[in-house]
């Protein structure tokens, strides 16, 4: 095509193309740099933790009973799983139920819907230490449940409730109205439509929300120090104090005597998160396939 254009116009075109290509080149460089930098920082942290931690992973660290010489992380590991489970058992049904109500039952002009949505958004922006303070005042002191597994789990449940609710709501909203019409058109009621058609379609999104919630629980320390306490034992009941891995790390680091073991604990925490993520991703993929 350039052959058909007169030489002057042709050279002007080339010049413009060249200057544009320099701009594009700089932009591309910046984009690559940005990507490299963010991945690099993450990789550096992970590799640093692995290098500092792996050499200190010793059998003593996995002793079922904690004492101040072996600083075993085993009770904390068990507690983390336990407290996650209890918090999810409370938060998921509540959050999912609220999401179903908001998307499927409440009318669009319902005032409660707006209020709940604003509240949830505000709550999800509050620092976890504030939840910790609330847990301390309400569960620990007012209800006199002391620093315990149940106080900690309830605090965490409240903390992740807005998250679970919002993600479930988005997942339900993303289900095409065609499915609703199809189900109602066959004479199915609202409950049946929700349970048999909408929830199965929304499962990947709901699981993704639960996964984010697990991430927050496993990584939480501030809200737990005041509600679940720091006793490094596997609790014998819901009203015993517990210490999760994050809290365990916090305690070890602040004591300053077991920095090496702290890194080793971080490696285990990293692995735990990795395993949970992989499991959830597999689940999501299986559900997405139907």
């Amino acid at each position: 095509m350039s052959q058909a254009i007169s030489p002057t116009i042709n050279s002007r075109l080339t010049r413009r193309t060249r200057s544009r290509s320099i701009g594009a080149w700089i932009l591309r460089l910046l984009v690559y740099l940005g990507a490299l930098l963010s991945v690099g920082v993450l990789l550096f942290i992970v590799v640093y933790i692995l290098i500092m931690g792996i050499p200190h992973l010793s059998p003593a660290l996995f002793d079922p009973v904690y004492n101040s010489t072996n600083v075993s992380l085993m009770p904390a590991l068990a507690n983390t799983l336990l407290i996650t489970l209890v918090a999810l058992v409370i938060a998921v049904p509540l959050g999912l139920g609220a999401a179903i109500y908001l998307t499927e039952y409440a009318g669009r002009k319902n005032r409660i819907v707006g209020a709940v949505r604003v509240t949830a958004e505000t709550l999800s922006g509050i620092p976890s230490i504030v939840y910790g303070l609330f847990g301390l005042l309400f569960f620990v002191t007012y209800l006199n449940w002391r620093m315990s597994l149940i106080s900690g789990a309830l605090t965490l449940a409240i903390m992740i409730l807005p998250l679970i609710m919002r993600t479930s709501e988005e997942a339900l909203k993303a289900v095409p109205d065609l499915y609703r019409e199809g189900s109602f058109g066959l004479g199915a009621g609202r409950l049946r439509t929700v349970l048999r058609v909408l929830l199965p379609s929304a499962t990947p999104g709901i699981l993704a929300g639960i996964l984010l919630g697990i991430g927050r629980i496993v990584g939480e320390s501030a809200a737990l120090i005041y509600t679940a306490g720091t006793v490094a034992e596997i609790p014998s009941g819901l009203f015993d104090s517990t210490r999760t891995l994050s809290v365990h790390m916090y305690v070890l680091a602040s004591e300053g005597l077991h920095v090496e073991q702290t890194y080793a604990t971080a490696v285990v925490l990293l692995l735990l998160v990795l395993i949970i993520n992989t499991l959830a991703a597999t689940l999501v993929r299986r559900f997405a396939k139907g």
């Binding site: 095409p176 609703r180 019409e181 199809g182 109602f184 066959l186 396939k289 139907g290």
Partner: protein, 304 residues
């Protein structure tokens, strides 16, 4: 589609369909009987059996006004829909034909701010007050514009309706699913693919699956809201053929943008314009000798 020769074509095709009409597949007795008679005899019997006048009034729409908020979408609609016939609603976009068909099984209830006055009677019973809405939708099934199979396997899609209405036994469900698939002329194609996800089927198969799903609850009326508008010509032809077969057992109401489709398959046609029912008459009359000038202009392709 809007060429001036619409009229002659429509008539020929219409008659062809009535003579080439085949008995309902699922009805074994009829099928065996008809196997021994010549096509001419068959055509004669069928023509003789064709209802010339609507025998039973299945649905009666009386002074229906419908509003979306402050917008009036339907204005004083009065229409009678006869059993075992295909009634087509035609008209340009926004004329209210889809709104009306969705009123017949109260799908408009799902839309905020939609209200109506007047009455719709199903076998003489007011559908707003005289019957539970889920039961109404069981009796008046619906097929939508876009094929909307659920994201589950073929079997579960068809079994959804029967399960909803309390059929639990595996044998009963199997039977209901098979019968529905046979009725929708889909069984031979899909009998080995019952456990496959329905979203993997072709568009035409998906739409016929939706018809099968609607048939599985054994409705008395089947509403079809532009069921072929998203399909290719071959799939469209198969669905038209199927619809003609189905009217033996069902009352069918079909909304269509395609006038030739209305001419090919329907017994009665209702023409809508800007929320008003302009004219409703036997299909041949609508296309051959419309009483209203606007109907004449529309079927001649002068607007819409």
């Amino acid at each position: 589609m809007h060429s001036p020769n619409t009229r002659p074509i429509s008539v020929t095709v219409d008659l062809t369909h009535k003579t080439a009409y085949r008995p309902f597949i699922a009805d074994a007795d009829v099928a065996i009987q008809s196997a021994d008679i010549t096509p001419a005899q068959e055509a004669e019997t069928i023509l003789a059996n064709l209802p010339l006048e609507p025998t039973v009034e299945r649905i009666a729409i009386k002074h229906l006004d419908l509003f979306y908020g402050s917008f009036q979408a339907l204005k004083d609609i009065n229409l009678s829909i006869a059993s075992n016939q295909i009634t087509a609603f035609i008209g340009p976009s926004g004329c209210g034909k889809s709104t009306l068909i969705k009123s017949l099984n109260r799908m408009n209830d799902l839309i905020d701010g939609c209200r109506h006055t007047g009455a719709i009677l199903l076998d003489g019973i007011d559908i707003d007050t005289g019957i539970n809405v889920n039961l109404l939708r069981k009796r008046v099934g619906m097929v939508f514009q876009k094929p909307n199979p659920f994201p589950m396997n073929v079997y579960d899609n068809v079994a959804f309706g029967p399960r909803t209405h309390g059929i639990k036994g595996k044998a009963q469900l199997d039977e209901a699913v098979e019968k529905a698939l046979v009725d929708a002329a889909l069984f031979d194609e899909l009998k080995d693919r019952l456990k496959e996800n329905a979203l993997g089927l072709s568009g035409g198969q998906q739409q016929r699956l939706c018809i099968a799903r609607a048939l599985a609850v054994q409705p008395e009326v089947l509403l079809m809201d532009e069921p072929t508008s998203a399909l290719d010509p071959i799939s469209t032809a198969r669905i038209e053929e199927l619809v003609v077969q189905l009217k033996e057992h069902l009352t069918i109401v079909i909304v269509t943008h395609n006038m030739q489709q209305a001419a090919r398959i329907s017994d009665k046609t209702a023409f809508f314009l800007l929320g008003e029912l302009i004219e409703a008459a036997p299909t041949q009359d609508i296309f051959m000798m419309p009483q209203d000038e606007r109907t004449a202009d529309y079927v001649a392709g002068r607007f819409g």
